[in-house]
């Protein structure tokens, strides 16, 4: 079920976003979007690209991830720690975070509701609400 998505689809995405469909943007787009929801760092994506014989520099991977994010094709995920994670799922949703290995999984938006949100400070508006549910192994009793 992985390759419903074609290069032409990616090209469409890029054009719609106002980005030139260059070789590396197409290839990276394929990696990112062909298998559904993913959470990647620049390093992970770069390694994956090299493994598949796609030739891109790390700098270009960084550029591409940021450009995709600006265009709304990706979302940056707030986790503490040094590395920046990008999420290919841009719908309104939250995350489970496995403290043991730093892995993330999606929680669809509908599954959590926030109630009693306090008043937003004067002149400000909410751009997004991030919820991170941190999980650890249940201790064996």
């Amino acid at each position: 079920m992985s390759s419903q998505i074609t290069l032409a689809d990616i090209e469409g995405k890029l054009r719609k976003a106002g980005l030139r469909p260059t070789r590396q943007r197409l290839d990276l787009g394929m990696l990112l979007f062909r298998d559904g929801d993913r959470h990647v760092t620049a390093e992970i994506l770069h390694a994956e690209a090299l493994r598949e014989g796609i030739s891109v520099s790390l700098a270009t991977v960084y550029n591409t991830l940021h450009q995709f994010t600006e265009c709304g094709l990706l979302r940056e995920v707030a986790i503490e720690g040094s590395k920046t994670y990008f999420d290919t799922n841009i719908s309104d949703h939250h995350h489970f975070y496995f403290e043991r290995d730093g892995k993330l999984i999606d929680i669809e938006g509908a599954e959590i509701a926030l109630v009693d949100l306090p008043p937003v400070p004067e002149g400000m508006e909410i751009t997004r609400v991030d919820v991170l549910i941190r999980l650890a192994d249940k201790p064996k009793l």
Copy 2:
């Protein structure tokens, strides 16, 4: 209202946490805890210490912040971006995040409730739920 807290209080905190009350831990503890809830980076705290004539190295500030965090005296806040923020409020609470200037303010725990939390994956337990409400200036219409 700032100095209800004495060096002796800090010393008690440290001892209870199993940390030796050294000169720099006491001084940094004073800065962190005397004025109530704060959100600091290592750099901010270091600069503040120097300004007050406290002599500590940046490396020691980093060590101290991490040790305090391990002992539960501080909490690390998950924000994307390069710098690590530490929160002196360790109670169960959430944050408003001002995207413009990267500032944080606390939302007390009682003011938000989460409903319909999805089932936690097998063998895992929730250690914490972080909620970050991202704010931007309301555009002038």
